[in-house]
């Protein structure tokens, strides 16, 4: 079973190609009662910014058909506290991929530089958070800005740089090509789709932030489509995510061209879901007569 799922990504050795998606898994340690972190490919930790952020006020989540909306607003303790308090606790337990966000191009460079330390396996640029006004999404929807942010991060760190793409664009492959040209080592997609829910009795938005990011099973077909389109457009590896709840869901992403996958919202439903997906994926590979997950990547016959 070990050999079936073992893979390599950006120089990282992954026990399984199953990662935990940023914002849904804390810093990994919150799930240790339910998950053997060593069997995860890595943890994409909660987004880190230069200064601590308290996040958005009011209601932050809402149930939707086959999914949920969230508008946390990048609440986090800031990079200083992450480096001093959190990283030492988690660095030897899993591949730590640090998701970062800034309100200007230079913030991404500075953060990437500060995180160029032992214990950080890779850096994921969050250029696609729909829930903060002062940054994030603007970089993810504009090819030029996306390239500038990528280049700034690449210049400042020796770590692999993964760029997390927003689905809230007309053509995701344009952004993908732009960040590949700017030096991105890998892409992760998709982030949440921007959504909204209204309480018809109060006639007010349900979320304190008015709009939020849609995740969960509902977005999976959109994500698979975007991974497939992007895989044709770039040569760098793709980490696929968006509504994965089972090994069958994960297999779709590999077939579409993802080298690894990340599980997000499903962690809230079943805290040990990543382990079940790994087990079932191995069974699926076995049944299909494959020797390694790599043999599945991009094999969708169109």
């Amino acid at each position: 079973m070990n050999e079936l799922l073992r893979t390599e990504l950006l120089g990282m050795k992954l026990a399984t190609p199953i990662l935990a998606a940023s914002g849904t898994f804390g810093f990994g340690e919150e799930f240790e009662d339910f998950v053997d972190l060593k069997r995860l490919g890595g943890v994409m930790v909660k987004c880190i910014t230069l200064k601590p952020r308290r996040g958005n006020d009011g209601v932050r989540i809402a149930e939707t058909p086959a999914g949920m909306l969230n508008a946390i607003g990048l609440e986090n303790p800031g990079v200083e506290k992450f480096l001093s308090d959190i990283l030492p606790r988690i660095k030897d337990r899993t591949n730590v991929i640090v998701n970062i966000s800034g309100s200007g191009v230079e913030d991404y460079g500075e953060l990437a530089g500060l995180l160029d330390v032992d214990g950080v396996a890779a850096i994921e640029l969050n250029i696609s958070c729909p829930n903060v006004k002062d940054g994030g999404i603007i970089f993810g929807t504009d090819e030029r800005q996306a390239a500038l942010v990528t280049a700034a991060a690449k210049r400042s760190t020796s770590k692999p740089v993964i760029v997390k793409l927003s689905p809230n664009v007309t053509d995701i492959t344009k952004i993908a090509r732009a960040v590949e040209s700017a030096g991105a080592d890998a892409l992760s997609l998709i982030n949440t789709l921007m959504g909204m829910q209204i309480n018809i009795h109060t006639r007010r938005p349900v979320l304190g932030n008015v709009t939020g990011g849609l995740s969960g099973g509902a977005i999976k077909p959109v994500a698979v489509r975007m991974v497939w389109q992007t895989a044709q457009a770039v040569n760098i590896p793709i980490i696929g995510m968006g509504g994965i709840q089972s090994a069958a869901d994960a297999a779709e992403f590999f077939l579409a061209g993802a080298k690894a996958v990340a599980v997000g919202t499903a962690n809230f439903v079943d805290p040990s879901i990543t382990m079940k997906i790994a087990d079932d994926l191995a069974t699926y590979l076995c049944g299909a007569g494959l020797k390694n997950i790599g043999e599945l990547v991009g094999k969708v016959a169109v």
Binding site: G23, T24, F25, G26, F27, E30, F31, D33, F34, K46, R54, G55, D57, G58, V59, R60, I61, A62, E63, T64, A66, G67, M68, N70, I72, E75, G216, G217, T265, N267, F268, V269, D270, P271, S272
Partner: protein, 251 residues
Amino acid sequence: MARDFFAEIVANEAVAEKVFRLTIDAPTLAEESRAGQFVHVKISDELTLRRPLGIASTASGVKIFYRVVGRGTQLLSRRQSGERLNILGPLGNGFTPRGDKVLLVGGGMGLAPLLCAAEQFTADVLMGGRNADEVNFWREEFHTRAEKIFLTTDDGSVGLYGFVTDALPDILAANHYAAILTCGPEVMMRGVARLAAAKKIPCEVSFERRMACGLGACLSCSVDTADGRKKVCKDGPIFAAEKVFGGERDE
């Protein structure tokens, strides 16, 4: 330690208008949980998110009270005895155990975690509700667990006419308590905390927030405290009143 397990529903019955009492067979949970803790329940495959529900009793089966307010609780009210329910818990910190008698002050569904406190501590209870129908079943539940029961209703149909905060000063003048534990609407808890602080009685409040993971990871349930941002699911749901109502702005 929190576990993810299935428990059989022993009973799921209406006790007042839109209020249900759910009893599940979960001996390990009963043994391991403390008053003030909660469980995160996977109500139905039709829902993505679990729903957090306070533990109200661990004496014979684990009891949970809920009011039908939305789709989640509506689906829960349709679950039948004999069916199995996926439970994550116990979660949260729980009330601080006290050797001496405490006063429990609750309104509406806030009385649920206080019932568990009455079971585990020596306690009097001050309960408030809108009308007799809303407090009568609580009175029966607390009858065997609390020493003295004080009652208020908004319409005066039973007990003292008014809010719990109207009745509290006289109760505190006539009795001695090691602490006040309160759960209910935030405006009520604030009022209770103010009166407790004036009397220099330690006061703990129980918070309720929407939450996704219940494990401290998603940050859906963050609140401001005197010690910085805290998570209701993991650092709470029980907080020292002065830490959360200490002049800081509320969410």
